[in-house]
Symmetry: C2
Subunit: 333 residues, 2 copies
C-alpha cells in the first residue's frame, strides 16, 4: 500500500522547556528577546539554572506545523531525529499521538535529544535557546523516497540549515518532490537564521527549488536587508513563481504571488500567553487550506485561527481540535 499524505515536514525534533521570565532576566542572561539562539550543552545547562519552574512539551517548528495540520484533519508526516532517551521517547509519543506519521529511526548513541529553553516574558513574547543535540545526526538516509513522492507539499523549516547534513536530506526530498510535480515550502524560521543563510535561501527561491515561502515581517526584512515592509513585499512579488505568505502578528497576514496581493486579518485573541509556535501554526492553517485547494484568503484565515489558538496557552502545539474550531467559526464546512 502506498502512503499518500498532504504534507511531509522535515525539521529539528525538539522538546521545549518553557518558563515565565521577566524582561530583566533576559538582559541578565545576555539573551536577545524574540530570537532563537543556538547553544551548546554547557550553555544550555547554565541557562536552565536561570529559568523558573518549567513546562515541558514537544516542539520543533516543522513538527508543530505537522501537529497543526493533523489537528485540521490533514494527513501529515514528519522527519526529524531524536535520541533513544526519555526526551526522545516523549517527542515520538507526542507527535504520533497528535496523529502525525513519524518513522525516522532514533539515534542510538551520540548527543541527547534536542531541547529548546524558552523564556516567555509577560507580553507573551518568547526567547528561544536551542541545543541541537541528536538533530545533528539527521541526513539524506532518513528520507523515505515514496513519502516524499506522495506528499502534496514538502515543508521545511529554515532552522534545518543549522545541523550539518539536514539540508542535504531536504534537498534530496525536494528533488523527489519536484520530480513528482509536488510543491515545496520553506519557512524562514527566524531573522538571525535568515542572516546566517540568506544567500542559500534566496538561491532556493530563485532556482525554483522552493514554491511557497512562509516568513514573518522581520524575516522578510532580513531576507532583503530592508527595514521597510513594502520594499520586502515588492521583492517577494518580484520572485518568479513564488507564493509568499508573510505574517505580521496582530496586523494579520499578506499573501503575495506576482501581481496578486491578498491581505487577511489576525484572529482576535483575548490574552496572548505565549507566542511560541504562532508562525508554525499559521503555516499549518494555511497549508490545511492550500491542500484543500481553498483560495488564499480562506487559507490565511485558517492560519490566523490556528495561530490564535496556540498563542492563548503555553506551548507550541494546539490544545484544541483545530478542525472543530474552524467549523465552529464558520471557516470550514
Amino acid at each position: 500500500m502506498s502512503k499518500t499524505i498532504d504534507v511531509l515536514g522535515i525539521g529539528n525534533a525538539i522538546v521545549d522547556v518553557l518558563s515565565s521570565a521577566e524582561d530583566d532576566s533576559l538582559v541578565a542572561a545576555g539573551l536577545h528577546k524574540g530570537a532563537m539562539q543556538l547553544v551548546d550543552e554547557k550553555r544550555s545547562g547554565e541557562l536552565y539554572a536561570l529559568m523558573g519552574p518549567t513546562t515541558v512539551v514537544s516542539g520543533g517548528s516543522a513538527a508543530n506545523t505537522m501537529a497543526g495540520l493533523a489537528s485540521f484533519g490533514r494527513a501529515a508526516a514528519f522527519v526529524g531525529k531524536v535520541k533513544d532517551d526519555d526526551a526522545g521517547r516523549e517527542f515520538a509519543h507526542d507527535i504520533r499521538k497528535a496523529g502525525v506519521g513519524f518513522d525516522t529511526p532514533c539515534a542510538r548513541d551520540g548527543a541527547a535529544t534536542a531541547r529548546c529553553l524558552i523564556f516567555v516574558t509577560p507580553d507573551g513574547q518568547r526567547t528561544m535557546n536551542t541545543f541541537l543535540g541528536a538533530c545533528q545526526a539527521l541526513g539524506p538516509d532518513d528520507i523515505d523516497d515514496s513519502l516524499a513522492a506522495s506528499a502534496k507539499v514538502l515543508y521545511m523549516e529554515g532552522y534545518l540549515w543549522d545541523p550539518p547534513d539536514a539540508k542535504s536530506a531536504f534537498l534530496k526530498a525536494a528533488k523527489i518532490s519536484r520530480a513528482h510535480g509536488r510543491k515545496v515550502a520553506l519557512s524562514l524560521s527566524d531573522a538571525f537564521c535568515v542572516d546566517r543563510y540568506r544567500d542559500e535561501f534566496l538561491g532556493l527561491i530563485r532556482d525554483g527549488v522552493v514554491d511557497i515561502l512562509f516568513a514573518n515581517e522581520s524575516e522578510a526584512h532580513a531576507l532583503y536587508q530592508t527595514a521597510d515592509f513594502d520594499t520586502a513585499l515588492k521583492e517577494l512579488q518580484g520572485e518568479a513563481n513564488l507564493l509568499a505568505v508573510v505574517t505580521r502578528s496582530a496586523q494579520g497576514a499578506v499573501v503575495v504571488q506576482g501581481a496578486s496581493i491578498v491581505a487577511a486579518p489576525a484572529f482576535p485573541v483575548e490574552t496572548v500567553v505565549d507566542t511560541t509556535g504562532a508562525g508554525d501554526l499559521f503555516a499549518a492553517g494555511f497549508l490545511a487550506g492550500f491542500t484543500r485547494d481553498l483560495p488564499h484568503d480562506k487559507s490565511a484565515a485558517l492560519g490566523a485561527l490556528a495561530a490564535a489558538e496556540v498563542i492563548s496557552h503555553f506551548g507550541a502545539r494546539p490544545q484544541k481540535d483545530l478542525l472543530q474550531l474552524a467549523r465552529d467559526n464558520g471557516l470550514l464546512a
Copy 2:
C-alpha cells in the same frame, strides 16, 4: 542561622504527565474518573501508550501546596524523595525555582522518580495514575528536626500513607512540631485513599496529632462513610479541637471548628481547563491566610482565589504570582 518557615510540607515528589482525554477513553482504559489510582511501572507504561500528546510539569499534592504558599509570599519548604534522574532533576529545579526550600537527598539507586499520568476530560476533571517509584524510599531520616521545629504549620498529604516508611517520617515530624507548640495539618487527598486508611486518619484526628484537616466533599463523606454532607459536617464539628476546611468545588468551602461554621464562596472561573491541584492550591491559599493570622473567611477567600487560578490552566502549580493576584482582587493589602 536557624531556619524559620511558615509551612513545612511532606509529600510524594511527583512529575505530572498530563493529556487531554475523552470520557470514553477512561472507560476503555478501566479508569475511575476523578480518582487517584496507584499503578506499577508496567501499568504506567501501558497507560502512557493510551495517552494523547502530553504536557510534563512538576506536581505532587503537598509540593503543589508549598509552591502555592511560596507564590503567596510565605516561607515554605518541602520534604519528598526523587531519584537522581531527569525527572528528579526537573522536580528539584521546579520546586526550588518556585521559591520553596527543598533539601531532601535524592535516591541514587532503586526506582525512578515518581510520575503521575493524568487524563484530563473535556469537563476539566482529572483522573490520576501514580507510579510511586522513588517516593517509596522516603523515611524518618529525611526529616530535618530543626525545620520541623520551626515551621508554624506542618502539612502532610494523606497519599503519604501509601509508601511504606513515609508515614513514620510524618509521625516523627509531627512529634517535633507538637513539642514546639506548632500546628499539624493533614489533607485527605482522595476518597479512595481515605477508604484505604480511614481508621488511621481518624486516629490521627482523635489522638490530637492533627489540628487542621483539609478535605473535599467526597473525602469527608468517605471519612465518615456517609453520602450526606450535613452528616459529615456534624461529625467534623464533633471532633475535639479540630479545624476542618471542606471544599465543595463550585459551591465554595466550609470551615468548621466546633460550633463555628464559616462558609466561603468559590472564586469565579471563566473556563475550567484542568482541576488538577484545585484542592492543593485551596490549602495553599487557606494556609497563606492562616499563617498571617487572618480570620477563616479571609483565608478561605485566598484558598478560593488560588484554586481558581490553578484550574484555569493545565498543571497543578500556579502560573501567576498569587500574592499579586490577591492584591489585585483586594484580598491582601
